[in-house]
């Protein structure tokens, strides 16, 4: 039951198109939110990770903790635009997980140790990168995501 809730928990109207005709307006207004292209894939991956069998790593690692998976999804809901690239999501050895993007010269790793405990790392090119332990304010990650999106745009243009 808890596992199935990852898909439905916090499901926003992003995936619903509402067309509303407002009598007081002369024009028809479309109220629609962009379809979030990454959410289903991310939710599927998180559900898989919370279902991992204990010892999945060959030692004694438990599955990813549900609260960590839910927090990760919430974090992405708040930081990743609907058209953003989905992260790779990998489990840690203690119920933790890591969100990663490696696109072009930009690398981002968000190690979710617990809800509101994220060890974040960002790097461009051959730089050693910057690390931050984040607990309440994740605004910094938003600026990294913007840099990532610019890289995606650049990669897309160069391959066109």
């Amino acid at each position: 039951m808890m596992v199935a809730m990852i898909h439905s928990f916090g499901a926003s109207s992003r995936t619903t198109d509402n067309v509303v005709s407002l009598p007081r307006l002369r024009t028809r207004d479309n109220l629609s939110e962009p379809v979030c292209r990454w959410r289903a894939k991310v939710a599927d991956r998180l559900e898989h990770l919370v279902r991992l069998k204990p010892g999945w790593d060959g030692y004694s690692a438990p599955p990813v903790r549900f609260e960590n998976a839910y927090f990760a999804l919430s974090l992405l809901d708040n930081l990743l635009p609907p058209n953003g690239p989905p992260p790779s999501i990998v489990p840690g050895a203690a119920g933790d997980l890591q969100l990663e993007w490696h696109i072009g010269s930009v690398d981002i790793e968000l190690h979710v140790l617990a809800p509101n405990r994220v060890h974040a790392w960002f790097c461009v090119g051959d730089d050693v990168g910057q690390e931050q332990d984040l607990k309440a304010n994740f605004f910094l990650i938003g600026s990294w995501i913007q840099r990532l999106l610019a890289e995606v745009d650049g990669v897309t243009r160069s391959s066109a």
Binding site: D57, S88, V90, A94, D96, E131
Partner: protein
């Protein structure tokens, strides 16, 4: 027991230690799960998280090769049974050079189990990753991004 018993706390749990029965030239093997692979610029790469310690006691699990051999097992078969498709080998001395400690923590189902303690930050995890060499390679997977 092939190595001296490790130190334990009052609850009977092994505490972090640098086991003197594990020499610098000894090899430890770290199993790599396919779940910990990520994509980087079109290639599959082992994630840095595979070289981070567990947050429970901070240790990164390994298998001590000489204990596997002493038990009469083939190391390659030991670390790929029942199905752990990849593994890397690390020289204990190189880990200690990074400021880490390598101990012995036998488990009921794995008498060759050891742990590496001290990997608390990403730079250290990446240093361990760079020191690792494939033992059982996962096909078309890079151990570290190039």
């Amino acid at each position: 027991m092939l190595l001296d018993p490790p130190p334990k706390d009052e609850q009977g749990s092994v505490t972090p230690h640098d086991h003197r029965g594990i020499a610098d030239e000894d090899i430890v093997i770290r199993r790599i799960s396919e779940e910990q692979l990520v994509e980087k610029n079109g290639r599959r790469v082992v994630s840095s998280i595979a070289f981070k310690g567990a947050s429970s006691n901070g240790g990164m699990s390994v298998d001590i090769e000489k204990v596997i051999v002493a038990l009469g097992h083939n190391p390659v078969e030991f670390v790929t049974t029942p199905r752990w498709i990849g593994s890397v080998r690390l020289v204990v001395g190189e880990l200690r050079t990074l400021g880490l400690i390598v101990g012995y923590n036998p488990l009921p189902d794995n008498e060759a189990h050891g742990e590496v303690w001290g990997i608390t930050r990403r730079p250290t995890a990446k240093a361990v990753q760079k020191a690792a060499v494939w033992f059982v390679q996962i096909d078309q997977v890079d151990l570290i991004s190039t």
